[in-house]
């Protein structure tokens, strides 16, 4: 990002406060408004700050072992970042698990760099006070799949199983409101207040748009958010307890959503309300 772009990004940050304020009293839907902002910053999404931060972290020797992540295998061989995100989640032989991007980064940070899992999972999401290394790393990695079509293979039986479990979790109703993901995301053309809800159960197009725009810079929060964060916040709205970071439940859901997005070009990191 050059100075000019940084200026534009700062302007968006400043606008984000008034943006939240107008959201409630206008007939314009959030997606219309987001479109306007996209045009305004067409040559610079503030998520690029996180991509740069993530790239530095990827290349820097860190952790007790003082090594970089350049030997991390994201599924296309050690050190290959380009196109890796478009094929995740995948089955990994070394961990004997199906893993999404964030759980795989967690594996590399613990096995290669020597961090403990608890250190990373205690606060895996960024706040206005503190950025999150694992989120920045994820933003860097996804940026290297921009323009590459989603191609998550279900040939491996474990991935197929993960997809099937993810589908069941998508429909799993519980909690005081009886909500499931499907309560909000299985009908086309509906919204909550002014927020359009993608139908990720039966609309291929909705499922593709919803998945390929994440991770995303959220204008209302002034932060770049990862996919694990997206799921976490939807479970909050679902009145569920908190899903453990990078747990099998979240990975299975991600497999379900990623496979449904197959065929679409990955376009993130995105820009959202």
């Amino acid at each position: 990002m050059n100075t000019n772009q940084i200026h534009k990004a700062m302007m968006v940050l400043a606008l984000s406060t008034s943006f939240a304020a107008v959201a409630a009293d206008s007939a314009v839907t959030d997606s219309d408004r987001i479109e306007q902002y996209r045009e305004m910053i067409s040559d610079g999404n503030p998520a690029e700050f996180d991509e740069m931060r993530g790239e530095e972290l990827w290349k820097k020797a860190a952790g007790p072992n003082k090594v970089s992540l350049e030997q991390c295998d994201l599924g296309k061989g050690a050190g290959v970042v380009k196109g890796a995100y478009s094929e995740l989640p995948k089955y990994f032989k070394d961990t004997k698990k199906v893993q999404d991007l964030e759980s795989r980064l967690l594996t590399c940070m613990t096995t290669l760099q020597g961090f403990t899992e608890d250190e990373i999972t205690a606060k895996p999401f960024a706040s206005s006070k503190k950025p999150s290394d694992i989120s920045s790393l994820a933003t860097y990695v996804v940026g290297q799949s921009k323009g590459i079509k989603m191609a998550v293979s279900t040939k491996h039986p474990k991935v197929k199983e993960s997809y099937e479990i993810g589908k069941r979790i998508f429909n799993y109703r519980a909690g005081p409101y009886d909500f499931a993901c499907s309560t909000c995301h299985a009908t086309s053309g509906v919204r909550i207040r002014m927020q359009d809800l993608p139908n990720m159960r039966s609309s291929k197009k909705d499922a593709q748009i919803a998945y390929t725009g994440w991770p995303a810079y959220r204008v209302s929060q002034g932060l770049t958010r990862s996919f694990q964060w997206r799921l976490n916040d939807c479970f909050r709205q679902q009145r569920f307890p908190e899903p453990k970071f990078a747990s099998e439940a979240t990975i299975a859901l991600t497999t379900f959503l990623a496979v449904n997005a197959n065929g679409a070009e990955y376009v993130g990191p995105g820009l959202k309300r």
């Binding site: 959201a23 409630a24 009293d25 206008s26 007939a27 039986p157 474990k158 199983e161 099937e164 479990i165 069941r168 979790i169 429909n171 799993y172 109703r173 519980a174 909690g175 005081p176 409101y177 009886d178 909500f179 499931a180 499907s182 309560t183 909000c184 009908t187 053309g189 509906v190 919204r191 909550i192 207040r193 002014m194 809800l197 479970f235 909050r236 709205q237 009145r239 569920f240 307890p241 908190e242 899903p243 453990k244 747990s247 099998e248 439940a249 979240t250 299975a252």
Partner: protein, 203 residues
């Protein structure tokens, strides 16, 4: 290990892994994973993932219940509705409008002392003045004007708010009375919001 033995072992492992997994096994496995992978956060305790009979059935059949099971579950939900002891259903529509506007309640970011709202505008159009309404549920604009406001309709609306699953087992609307989200007097205020001729819903 010689090459032949090796290939047999690989083939055997592969065959094992490829054995078709039964749908019921997947249901069981899903339940185990869900019970293990969620934790308490604030007021949202891990036990919230435990399903009651209705939630489990709607999940299993992906909201399309066999007709017999649907009727059975609806009857059970209807039986559990507690109607107001004083026989009155109409409260204060002004308080009802405030409740309908509030989307607060029961998430892990809500405090124990926060009073849950009705979330009605999240899913329904109600007053013509409020244009930021959701569309998961049907429009309730002019509800009282169209449906009248006699005793029968008052009772019907109260029951709908108390337990929407009594009339449609897998409806997407929460069971506000059944799950103790709203109190009896709050539900009366909402009945008034929908039915009182002075309410903005009917103006």
């Amino acid at each position: 290990m010689n090459a032949k033995l090796m290939s047999i072992t690989v083939a055997a492992t592969f065959a094992l892994a490829m054995a078709p997994v039964q749908a019921t096994d997947l249901d069981t496995k899903t339940a185990e994973i869900v019970k293990r992978d969620f934790r308490d956060k604030g007021i949202a305790k891990a036990t919230r993932v435990n399903q009651d009979e209705l939630q489990a059935a709607c999940s299993k059949y992906v909201d399309k219940l066999p007709p017999k099971l649907k009727a059975k579950l609806e009857a059970k939900e209807a039986e559990a509705i507690k109607y107001p002891a004083d026989g009155k259903f109409m409260g204060d529509w002004k308080a009802g409008e405030k409740l309908a506007q509030s989307g607060r309640g029961m998430t892990w970011s809500d405090k124990p002392e926060d009073v849950p709202g009705g979330n009605c505008y999240n899913c329904h159009q109600l007053s013509a003045k409020e244009i930021a309404y959701g569309t998961i549920g049907p429009s309730l604009l002019n509800f009282g004007k169209v449906r009248g406001n006699g005793e029968d309709i008052q009772r019907y609306v109260y029951a709908r708010i108390y337990n929407a699953k009594a009339s449609n087992a897998c409806a997407n609307m929460p069971r506000f009375g059944h799950m103790s989200i709203l109190t009896e007097s709050q539900m009366k205020d909402l009945v008034a919001l929908l039915l009182d001729p002075e309410s903005p819903v009917n103006k």
